[in-house]
């Protein structure tokens, strides 16, 4: 045996432990890193020269100065005398407001359309297919401008459309009735949130027990108690009232209720409809990826339809659905930056105004990038955690 072993190749070693291969690798790495460093140094030195020539001071000191920019529509209290830093925070809140609600709505709409595409009803599945094809093949920015133009073409506040009592649609945006949330209401909602956590823990334990002895233990009585009865009891005990605030027209504008400004509403519609077309395709292919044998087996066991979908089909489809869904959520968040085209003041828009007012281009763009990188990482982290939870547990 030992005599058959290949002889070591003729020595090509130049530097002791380094083989030819390693040396080549080292050469390429030094070359590429060298080029990268040279480019960065070149750009950096140019930037420093240019900035000093234009008398722009670098650094984030400008964030403390008074912003003086108007932000019409914001979640957080803001007035133009606030600092740039606060303007950025308001912008980030606006980005998150459109991204979070957009993700929720796009998921719901996309799932409905994706399932409709698989419907046995020919008309429904064709309509869903046309929806998906049309929206996917037109640029989002064009759709956004289109919705915004439609918003502006709506009648004035006086002649607003009233599709349902208390809901107004006009060129001032969408106005909905609202329930004002104060401290007493927060107590009740807090109880419900606590109830949700407790319910979740109890449900897990019930499922674990069922796993052990196979006897089903319904969790819904706990759910009813913790999520409905307990908050209702707290509400009655504390005497919390839930007045609905109906919007009404006074002069040229509406008073009361919840107003979705036309910019926000157009951006939300555009993002939700566009992204839902992609989500629909993901949901469809996810459901189709479940092998036929699984449907057959569930049918053969005589399971109820809803139980079969919930317990057999969906868990398997989700494994295919979740990873591409993550990138759609990231896309929606990044696409919310198109807000700058219609003047909804998200973080990109605020940064753009800051840049024009102060000339701090590098800082403003660095802030945009930092915000989006953080949001992207956050979404990826959450979705990876969720994905690992639903992933197939193999031996």
């Amino acid at each position: 045996m030992t005599s058959d072993a290949p002889r070591p190749p003729p020595s090509r070693r130049f530097f002791g432990a380094f083989g030819r291969r390693e040396l080549k690798g080292l050469f390429w790495q030094v070359l590429v890193v060298g080029i990268a460093v040279a480019v960065v140094v070149f750009l950096w030195s140019n930037t420093v020269t240019n900035l000093s020539a234009r008398r722009i001071t670098t650094g984030f000191a400008f964030l403390g100065r008074e912003a003086g920019m108007p932000i019409a529509d914001s979640l957080l209290a803001y007035n133009p005398r606030d600092s740039y830093l606060w303007a950025f925070v308001v912008g980030i809140a606006n980005t998150l407001r459109v991204a979070v609600i957009g993700i929720v709505l796009a998921t719901i709409l996309g799932t409905v359309i994706g399932i409709s595409r698989l419907s046995a009803n020919w008309l429904l599945s064709r309509l869903a297919a046309v929806y998906v094809e049309t929206l996917r093949d037109i640029p989002l920015l064009l759709q956004l401008l289109f919705w915004y133009v439609l918003m502006q073409a709506l009648p004035a506040a006086r002649a607003a459309w009233r599709p349902i009592e208390g809901v107004f649609l006009s060129n001032r945006g969408l106005i909905l009735p609202a329930i004002p949330i104060g401290t007493p209401q927060l107590w009740v909602l807090g109880t419900a949130a606590l109830g949700l956590v407790v319910f979740y823990v109890i449900r897990r334990r019930l499922i674990a027990q069922q796993m052990r002895d196979g006897r089903p233990r319904p969790a819904w009585p706990f759910g009813l108690g913790l999520l409905v009865v307990l908050p209702a009891a707290v509400s009655v005990l504390l005497g919390v009232s839930w007045p609905i605030e109906w919007p009404e027209l006074r002069g040229f504008n509406f008073v009361g209720g919840l107003t979705l400004a036309p910019e926000y509403f157009a951006l939300l519609i555009a993002l939700v409809t566009y992204t839902s077309a992609f989500i629909a395709e993901i949901v469809r292919s996810g459901i189709q990826s479940v092998p036929r044998g699984q449907w057959d087996a569930a049918n053969a066991l005589g399971l109820r339809r809803s139980f079969m979908l919930r317990q057999i089909i969906l868990p398997q489809a989700l494994r295919v659905i979740v990873p591409p869904m993550t990138s759609q959520y990231l896309n929606l968040t990044k696409n919310s930056s198109l807000a700058v085209a219609i003047g909804y003041q998200d973080v990109v828009s605020v940064a753009n105004t800051t840049l024009n007012q102060t000339g701090q281009a590098i800082e403003a763009i660095a802030l945009i990038m930092a915000v989006f990188l953080t949001i992207s990482l956050g979404i990826s982290f959450f979705m990876n955690w969720y994905n690992s939870r639903i992933a197939l547990v193999e031996r």
Binding site: R136, I138, A341, F372, S376
Partner: protein, 368 residues
């Protein structure tokens, strides 16, 4: 929720003798298979009929198709009840070609046709050879010559007068032509055994993919002049083009990396056993297989990317969407932006739909 069509039917149903009128039979199986399904069909039909009727009323019956030049009074008379398609014949030259000198607009028109011919030839599988790369170089050179002029008796047209559809096609095609090789290099870099090259590639891809294209375009339009030595200034269109190439490179790299992962290990080992160098191994053995695996997702990336070129509107470059938006600034026609947007959406749709059909057909034949 309605029934899902994919549930396997009982084998008995397939063998049942087919009787009765085929039209009625089709209706029964596809629209009225059960009572809830029947109700759904009727409701959908009613909604659809209403939608089509009101659109036809607005878009066809009450529409104004032609008006005397620069006179929108007929359109304003039907505002709200009928479409003003007359804005399209009025403005189409500006929407399609922007501010390109009017008498020379046959040149961008010819360039657009060349682009379409180039795309069409690239989809023919029999032409997927080395010659295709030469064809691309020749066609892009010819297009540059047509657009710029300055030789062969063509007058010179500087690129700040370019606009409309040719600019959209240029941004997309050149972005692709340069982004694709960049993507290949970065994908190889990300799978390289050399730690420095790998981490640089990861950094590049994740940084670009983590931020919106808008911020890259801002960077190109505002920060680029700061990056360059004093007095050295390149054109705005070119700067946006660089941003788009960098953007495309990162996304294409991820798709190509997927393809590289799908190539079996044995292929790498066999190539190494033959004594091929790193570059020859990748060029001759690995990449042809890897790219073939990912042609459908590549086409989908191209579609996304074609649509994304419209974002240059935000930094004021005259692509198709910007010319459309500018065309309706004219006060006489200001109110008819919906018609213009529908027209432009139609152009984008034709290009993207053709590509998505092509991607579908490739998937059906498994890329062979």
């Amino acid at each position: 929720m309605t029934a899902i069509a994919d549930i396997p039917e009982a084998p008995r149903a397939a063998r049942r003798p087919q009787i009765g009128n085929p039209v009625l039979r089709w209706l029964r199986t596809n629209l009225f298979s059960s009572i809830p399904n029947g109700i759904l069909s009727v409701v959908l039909l009613a909604v659809l009929a209403k939608g089509i009727f009101s659109f036809a009323q607005w878009g066809i019956a009450n529409a104004v198709w032609l008006t005397p030049a620069n006179d929108s009074s007929a359109c304003r008379a039907v505002r709200g009840v009928g479409a003003c398609w007359a804005i399209i014949p009025e403005k189409y030259r500006f929407i399609l070609f922007g501010t390109y000198p009017f008498d020379e607009q046959w040149r961008p028109a010819l360039a657009v046709l060349l682009f379409i011919a180039l795309f069409y030839l690239s989809t023919r599988r029999t032409l997927w050879r080395r010659e295709l790369a030469y064809l691309w170089i020749a066609a892009l050179a010819l297009i540059s010559m047509l657009m710029w002029g300055g030789i062969l008796g063509l007058s010179f047209v500087s690129q700040d007068r370019w606009g409309g559809l040719p600019v959209t096609l240029i941004l997309a095609t050149f972005g692709l032509a340069f982004g694709f090789p960049l993507g290949i290099l970065v994908a190889l870099g990300r799978r390289s055994k050399l730690p420095a090259i790998r981490s640089l590639s990861v950094l590049y891809v994740e940084l670009i993919r983590g931020v919106p294209l808008v911020s890259l375009l801002f960077m190109a339009s505002v920060m680029f002049p700061l990056f360059m030595p004093n007095g050295f200034n390149i054109d705005k269109l070119l700067r946006a083009q660089v941003a788009i190439i960098l953007f495309a490179g990162a996304y294409l790299a991820e798709v190509i990396r997927g393809g590289l992962q799908a190539v079996p290990r044995g292929q790498y080992e066999a190539a190494e056993a033959l004594g091929l160098s790193y570059w020859r191994k990748n060029r001759l053995i690995v990449l042809p297989q890897a790219i073939r695996h990912v042609i459908p997702p590549l086409v989908n990336t191209f579609i996304a990317f074609f649509k994304d070129t419209s974002l240059v509107l935000i930094i004021g470059i005259f692509d198709l969407l910007t010319t459309a938006k500018t065309a309706i600034i004219d006060p006489a026609w200001q109110q008819f932006s919906v018609e213009v947007y529908i027209f432009v959406a139609g152009i984008y749709f034709v290009f993207c739909f053709a590509m998505s059909r092509y991607s579908r057909s490739l998937e059906a034949t498994d890329g062979r």
